[in-house]
């Protein structure tokens, strides 16, 4: 009985985290803020779901596989967020009007001045300064 309550609480918690990610994806204004929603609640959500599985299974032999699942998600989700975020920033898929502060902009501009037409900056000078979707 207690066992079932714990499992269902964990499952609902995990599902709520997926819901959080979903709401974030719909409501956040630009690509970079959406990446936050796509990575962070998912890690906790998967942890809760895996915990529910471990509790429900009542055997230790499944635990290493579940730990492995979570560790791989921990390792991969920041990398994918970084790659998407980096590509998004470089191709100007972000809304500057939403940023209170941008300390990377100067660095990128300086790097682009350093090697004219290098791979650092591939966009047009005013490419989508107002954001990709308004």
């Amino acid at each position: 009985m207690v066992h079932d309550v714990v499992v269902s609480a964990l499952l609902i918690g995990g599902a709520l985290m997926s819901l959080a990610a979903g709401i974030g994806l719909v409501r956040f204004p630009d690509l970079l803020s959406r990446m936050h929603a796509a990575t962070k609640p998912q890690v906790l959500g998967l942890l809760l779901l895996l915990l529910a599985l471990a509790v429900d299974n009542r055997s230790w032999i499944l635990v290493p596989v579940l730990v492995l699942c979570w560790v791989f998600q921990l390792l991969t989700s920041p990398v994918s967020a970084h790659m998407v975020g980096r590509a998004g920033y470089r191709t100007r898929h972000l809304r500057r009007d939403l940023l209170t502060l941008d300390e990377l902009d100067d660095v990128v501009a300086r790097a682009a001045d350093g090697d004219h037409g290098g791979p650092g900056r591939t966009d047009a000078p005013d490419g989508g300064a107002g954001g990709d979707r308004t």
């Binding site: 803020s33 890690v43 967020a81 970084h82 502060l101």
Partner: protein, 182 residues
């Protein structure tokens, strides 16, 4: 094959990890299975060559446990915070790209810090400057310069924890000196 020979001791953590993955996937940690896994791991490590990961040569389990506790707590806070922001703020959110200079110049530690802070409160690594070990982060819900300063303090605190867990002894000494001077 004219590749640089890597001593077994450098490969050992990777081999041990592969054996553990093997055991976990078969759900069988009997000695026979592990020995066979070790054999396969050794072959894999030697045939599918990757540059060796330069570890820092120090690892403190004593600091790891509180770090994991802090990490889990921050993970929960971050998830709830993103949930809350998504529901209440949504499209009116203000963000910032913040540069954070880290103390350590070890690739391994910079990577670990980047990973840890991507998972905990509202930050995402956009770009890494390896030469100055500066991380450029995209941060959710930063409305002022003070907020950005708070993010910077937070990231440097996370780095300090990681240095305590697995930083090189030089980084650790630098951290101790910094704390003493405060």
């Amino acid at each position: 094959m004219n590749r640089r020979h890597i001593p077994l001791i450098t490969e050992l953590p990777l081999v041990i990890w592969l054996v553990l993955v093997w055991g976990a996937l078969w759900q069988d940690f009997s000695p026979g299975n592990l020995v066979f896994g070790a054999l396969i791991a050794y072959v894999v490590v030697n045939f599918f060559y990757l540059p060796p990961v330069e570890l820092t040569g120090r690892f403190s389990v004593l600091w790891l446990v509180p770090f994991l506790g802090r990490f889990l707590l921050q993970l929960v806070t971050a998830s709830v915070q993103v949930f809350w922001l998504a529901v209440t703020r949504g499209p009116t959110l203000r963000n910032a790209v913040v540069a954070v200079a880290l103390r350590s110049h070890s690739d391994f530690l910079v990577t670990a810090t980047g990973h840890a802070i991507s998972l905990i409160p509202g930050s995402l690594v956009l770009e890494v400057d390896r030469s100055t070990s500066t991380l450029y982060l995209h941060c959710l819900n930063v409305a002022s310069v003070e907020d950005a300063e708070a993010v910077r303090r937070d990231v440097r605190a996370t780095e300090a924890w990681l240095i305590r867990v697995m930083g090189s002894s030089r980084d650790l000494a630098a951290l101790r000196a910094e704390e003493a001077s405060r």
